[in-house]
């Protein structure tokens, strides 16, 4: 099997529990919210909403092209290669040390107190809310990792909160 390109941290459940309640240092996106990414995402989901495509409409309505709410987590996802040669910094959920060799998302809840628009520079603070005891599912055995991301824009205003539950597991049929 190919090694996974994400930097998974490995450890025991006890190691993982030590990260619960820990908030990350703030991390700022490498680039501002851009029309190019807004429209590539809208094309991917085939959304014709003029808030994403029509600068005149979007500026009048939202103050600029609107960032698709669905793309929220993407703004703080680093490019898959960076000139430092170091692996990109991954989301806190997969930096939680656990035995599982892979992961899949299980649940997500996002709130958007204010519109995010083209030109905004977003900063995220990530926190591990909980790590479940070992569970068996149809995919394999592992742990559910719940995280809370708080997104602020350049003036410090909170523009979004993102609560995510990820299943970190080792594949295998339940016994």
């Amino acid at each position: 099997m190919k090694p996974i390109s994400y930097q998974l941290a490995f450890g025991t459940y006890e190691d993982a529990l030590r990260m619960v309640g820990v908030a990350s240092e703030p991390r700022t996106a490498g680039t501002v919210v851009s029309a190019a990414r807004i429209q590539m995402f809208a094309a991917t989901v085939r959304d014709r909403n003029p808030s994403y495509w029509n600068a005149e409409f979007a500026t009048r309505t939202w103050g600029g092209l609107l960032a698709p709410p669905g793309l929220l987590m993407g703004w703080l996802t680093p490019p898959p290669w960076e000139p430092t040669g170091q692996p990109p910094v991954s989301a806190i959920a997969i930096r939680v040390p656990l035995p599982g060799t892979t992961f899949i998302n299980a649940a997500n809840e996002a709130e958007f107190p204010l519109p995010i628009v083209e030109g905004d520079l977003l900063t995220i603070v990530e926190e591990v809310v909980s790590v479940s005891p070992e569970k068996r599912t149809r995919l394999g055995t592992g742990h559910f990792v719940e995280t809370l991301d708080t997104f602020t824009r350049q003036d410090g205003t909170v523009v979004a909160r993102n609560r995510n539950t990820l299943f970190r597991f080792t594949p295998g049929a339940p016994s």
Partner: protein, 145 residues
């Protein structure tokens, strides 16, 4: 989208038009390109199979974008998604068709903020072409006015 509903005229519950979307391999690959999520399950069929999946699958952001599209296509471009809660209970794989069925389940005036917000709560179920529920979504829209 020219016939955007007027919040004051909406009676609950209300069914939204069904939306179907064929997810080809190209669309799944566009998903990684657009979101910068290069988890190999989203672009490498051999990796996906090694993890027990039939092939590559779309990520959470793609499903969220589909749900948001269903909501705002119906409510019009002056509406905005202010909350979305989703459970990922099955995956949408390359070759599948996503089917979204939405309905308005509640209508609320939120006076905790000034000016008060006009909100609609939607339930959107995303299934595959076999009718298997992959992603139930609760979504709140803010409407103008």
């Amino acid at each position: 989208m020219t016939d955007a509903p007027d919040w004051s005229q909406i009676s609950v519950p209300l069914e939204l038009p069904e939306v179907k979307d064929e997810i080809t391999y190209q669309r799944v690959v566009m998903n990684s390109g657009a979101t910068w999520d290069y988890f190999p399950g989203h672009f490498d069929p051999a990796y996906a199979e090694s993890q027990g999946h039939p092939t590559i699958f779309v990520n959470t952001m793609h499903l969220a974008g589909f749900a948001d599209r269903i909501a705002t296509d119906w409510a019009g471009p002056d509406s905005r998604v202010v909350r979305r809660k989703m459970r990922l209970i099955g995956s949408i794989y390359a070759g599948d068709t996503m089917v979204g069925r939405g309905r308005v389940v509640a209508k609320r005036r939120d006076a905790s903020v000034d000016p008060p917000r006009h909100l609609l709560d939607l339930q959107i179920d995303v299934t595959n072409q076999r009718g298997e529920l992959c992603c139930p979504v609760e979504l709140t829209l803010q409407l103008p006015g």
